[in-house]
């Protein structure tokens, strides 16, 4: 299990271009769809935790999933797996390949990869929405957060994602209390 964790996250780390969000589509594929270590909703909870805690999202995700599957050493293996490719490649770049990124054809290939990363992040988000347990409340939360992000971006204001996660949590609890009150009064 420990070795599987290391290899899985090594593969994820090797193909994650462009930071934490880009990693989510790989994690969904490897861990939810192929290995079925967790489901879409639980992955969403893990992402919320990773977003609300300090540190790189990719490391947080690897540590959490590794810990959940195989305890402390699982966390260690998964985190090491995600770090080693990044570490080795940057070391090589700083050792030998100073002009590598200036090469015209390399930069062309990266234009393509960037577009694929945008596509993969969008796909991961939409799949997450599709697999959501949908009711009036969750759909309303999804679209109001999306609208809020678009409006804030238009005015070039940005709040951390933690704020939205916290508001979502408060909204969830409020909705739960209100709806259970309503049910209670109907039963009376």
């Amino acid at each position: 299990m420990i070795i599987t964790l290391f290899l899985t996250f090594f593969k994820i780390g090797l193909f994650t271009f462009g930071g934490g969000y880009a990693m989510i589509s790989h994690i969904r594929e490897e861990i939810v769809e192929k290995k079925q270590w967790t489901d879409s909703n639980e992955l969403s909870d893990i992402i919320a935790v990773a977003e609300s805690t300090p540190g790189p999202i990719a490391i947080n995700l690897a540590t959490y999933i590794g810990y959940k599957k195989a305890g402390f050493f699982g966390a260690l293996a998964a985190t090491a797996g995600v770090i080693v490719p990044a570490f080795a490649i940057i070391l090589c770049i700083s050792l030998f390949l100073d002009g590598f990124m200036e090469n015209k054809y390399v930069s062309y290939a990266f234009e393509g990869i960037k577009c694929a990363v945008a596509f993969l992040i969008l796909k991961a988000g939409i799949e997450m929405y599709i697999q959501l347990k949908k009711n009036l409340f969750t759909v309303a939360v999804f679209f109001s957060v999306l609208a809020a992000l678009a409006i804030l971006d238009f005015f070039s204001v940005s709040f951390g994602s933690v704020l939205f996660i916290a508001l979502g949590g408060i909204a969830g609890i409020t909705f739960f209390i209100v709806s259970s009150r309503l049910k209670g009064s109907k039963n009376d």
């Binding site: 780390g13 193909f15 271009f17 462009g18 969000y21 790989h26 594929e29 969403s44 992402i47 935790v49 990773a50 977003e51 805690t53 300090p54 540190g55 790189p56 490391i59 540590t63 810990y67 966390a75 770090i83 490719p85 990044a86 490649i89 940057i90 770049i93 700083s94 990124m101 062309y108 290939a109 990266f110 234009e111 393509g112 990869i113 960037k114 577009c115 694929a116 945008a118 596509f119 992040i121 988000g125 939409i126 997450m128 929405y129 959501l132 347990k133 409340f137 969750t138 939360v141 999804f142 999306l146 678009a150 996660i165 508001l167 979502g168 949590g169 969830g172 609890i173 739960f176 209390i177």
Partner: protein
């Protein structure tokens, strides 16, 4: 996280601001967490191999410890009905955050800084990648893995950019 790293690096005079932004560009096109990439590079520049190992450990350890503590605590709270209720509000937020991250990444990729407009090349590449994916799903009935899609997109980028070069657009 990146602004914090930038302030630290500049105040220690480990890099100049333009060096920092130049390297940030490299980080975005190399695999792995950006924070780890930055720590490796800066650590290597300041203290060789050992420096890069220590810098990576430094950037990883705090989140590693915090997440393990949280994972321990969450296990015992996960059946609490208020935690479940909060999670039902948080899940759609996370989905919206990711959709938005994808949209804004796409917009910043296809907008052309120098010409203040859209970069037709990148729109063509994006559509090509999307079409390849949907052909695989709807015609061949199997999902392309994201790894295969990334490798194909590198060739698509290479091909389409060279095509635009020869057409001189």
């Amino acid at each position: 996280m990146i602004p914090v790293i930038k302030d630290t690096v500049l105040s220690h005079l480990w890099m100049t601001e333009s060096q920092f932004y130049g390297f940030l560009g490299i980080c975005e096109s190399t695999p792995g967490p950006i924070a780890v990439n930055l720590a490796t590079y800066i650590g290597y520049g300041q203290g060789g191999f050992l420096g890069s190992v220590l810098a990576v450990l430094g950037v990883t350890l705090p989140s590693f410890i915090i997440i393990i503590l949280i994972a321990k605590v969450l296990k015992s709270f996960s059946s609490n009905k208020y935690v479940t209720a909060a999670m039902s509000g948080i899940r759609p937020v996370v989905a919206a955050l990711i959709v938005w991250a994808g949209l804004s990444f796409l917009l910043s990729t296809v907008s052309d800084v120098s010409e203040h407009g859209a970069d037709i090349k990148k729109i063509v590449i994006f559509l090509t990648v999307a079409i390849i994916y949907f052909i695989s799903v709807f015609i061949f009935k199997r999902k392309l893995s994201s790894v295969v899609l990334i490798i194909l997109s590198a060739f698509a980028g290479l091909g389409i950019c060279m095509l635009f070069d020869t057409a001189n657009i």
